[in-house]
Symmetry: C2
Subunit: 377 residues, 2 copies
Amino acid sequence: MNDSEQAALIPDEGEVGIVEHQDFVSAERFRFESGGSIPELRQRYETYGRLNAAKDNAILICHALTGDHHCAGVYSLEERKQGWWNFMVGPGKPINTSKYFVICSNALGGCQGSSGPGSINPETGKPYNLDFPKLTVRDMVRAQSLLLDSLGIERLHAVVGGSMGGMQTMQWVIDYPERVGRYIALACGARHTAQAIAFNDTGRQAIITDPGWQQGNYSTDAAPDQGLAVARMMAHITYLSDVGMQSKFGRKRRASAKEHFDVEFEVESYLRYQGKSFVTRFDANSYLYLTKALDRFDLHSPESLDATLSPVTAPGLVVGFTSDWLYPPQGNRELVEALLRLGKDASYAELEMDYGHDSFLVRAPKLYKLIRNFLER
Amino acid sequence: MNDSEQAALIPDEGEVGIVEHQDFVSAERFRFESGGSIPELRQRYETYGRLNAAKDNAILICHALTGDHHCAGVYSLEERKQGWWNFMVGPGKPINTSKYFVICSNALGGCQGSSGPGSINPETGKPYNLDFPKLTVRDMVRAQSLLLDSLGIERLHAVVGGSMGGMQTMQWVIDYPERVGRYIALACGARHTAQAIAFNDTGRQAIITDPGWQQGNYSTDAAPDQGLAVARMMAHITYLSDVGMQSKFGRKRRASAKEHFDVEFEVESYLRYQGKSFVTRFDANSYLYLTKALDRFDLHSPESLDATLSPVTAPGLVVGFTSDWLYPPQGNRELVEALLRLGKDASYAELEMDYGHDSFLVRAPKLYKLIRNFLER
């Protein structure tokens, strides 16, 4: 049985249904790790389920680079597109909203309603653009902690996230060990390899050398869409796997191309679509800032990995995927080995799945069970 | 001992020294596999060593996508930059010019003097640009065969090539079995995977969406350099390996960046340099045509791989590299398995090297020995 056949056997769970986002605005100046600051902090977020009286049933979900706060449900009955982790989050689902109060916020630096380079600076009335301070994963996590303060949540039942969300998860248990009951970090290592940095910088160069970029001062109707689309196409390849792409597309062809360099193979059509649709929902400057935050994330620094991880108290589960070549399993394993070396309660699961880095976004029963049971443990 | 330590033990061989290119011009109309044609065919090439009286000591070297006809020697004593396979080709070297007459020509469709989209169409006095016909590896090989005719070479001692050069090598023994004594194809499979096509198409999109491209009708002083540089940066990553990049660059940093998105990591500096220097020596339209030829190359078509390979008579050596993830070893092995299944004289060597797809360009004694001894066998 392959993953999708197995998935078909899962009984339909409940849905969170129609959801609305909320906005947390803090009028206090927010200071970044780099020393820069912004006059106010905005965090757009969604919640699913109910916070109990003890306020101890909250789970924070941290999204990946191009994800957002909309991780479950739909915005209207007409809208068919569900949140990015809809299969994982809902009544009776692995992250069970009948039991837990689930929070997902748009990352600081993002472009879906939280403060980011495209937000209006209230002091100037104009977008920050490159005046937005240098950003780190630690900044994202501190912004989330202020959101939790505003909701009166002292301690989370769990933090869960994949990829950039996994980095935030690790930063949470390092910076706020007393506030996290347990954690699950998926498809995430201690730091980027040279190759991962190289891909990110190539994507950034595609954007920066697009004449539309204008040193970051583009208007939204003349944004560096061509560069951003190319960056996305390339990045998208790195989220999949050779085997996965081969079985999905192989060398299947489209009806013969009229012009030179028209789409000829199915995989080209798929990727070009990914590029084109991405620019309608993502901001180029956010892409630059967020990829930089990823590249700079390094749990081996400023001291050793062991020193960085020493504050962790919560039990944790790290999940790696065999076909993830962007953040290869050895990076996931390294994290858990260090935690175990330190005597922490940490587990590692390596799932054999063909979807590459994006495996954590795939509807797979073996992933469901891991997450459900670790949250209930 | 690592590869470079081993290399230091190799005694200095002779050098081919100062070389000059030559031009073969055929005034006969050249017809492409696609049905298109050009009024004349130009092939720029270099030769090293001497053709013997029997004209049976010639070795044809086929270059990779961004290589050229200058594979050994220097153009002047002041110029330090040697041909791209200088360590492999020379008096006493593995491809021994004291014994063999070595020919390397710029591929048809290229931009270093052979007919390509940037060449002047003698019928219009203007560059072909996108009027240049659709190109295949078979076309490149047929153009080379006309060059050999002009040199009076009936039969080659050997054809040797890596990557795109490996594809040409295979096409040679399929299309002209009677003209090849033996062959060595390095880092080359029977066809591109979906992932390889995806990377190529992303590179093409970077070029085509550069406003400088102008539907291929750019002038050389306003070429789509930004797009071509991005395409090169991305492709360059795919020629290396995660392990190789990690050991060469890791997370080494440069002096701190002044502006946002300045070079911060060594690997960024290296790659950006690769992109910038590439555009000074390569034509964007050639890049488009050649990558398309690679994507279309498919020995499984129009019939089976076995059917395509059945004309081969020469003994062959296929060399794969463990860290090559662009043309992974299983693709190399597949080729040899088919040859062996057909009862052909074929050998396979899989070298454990960390340089990724570009391993065949690295000065490595174990590669030397294989090539030297197979040519002498």
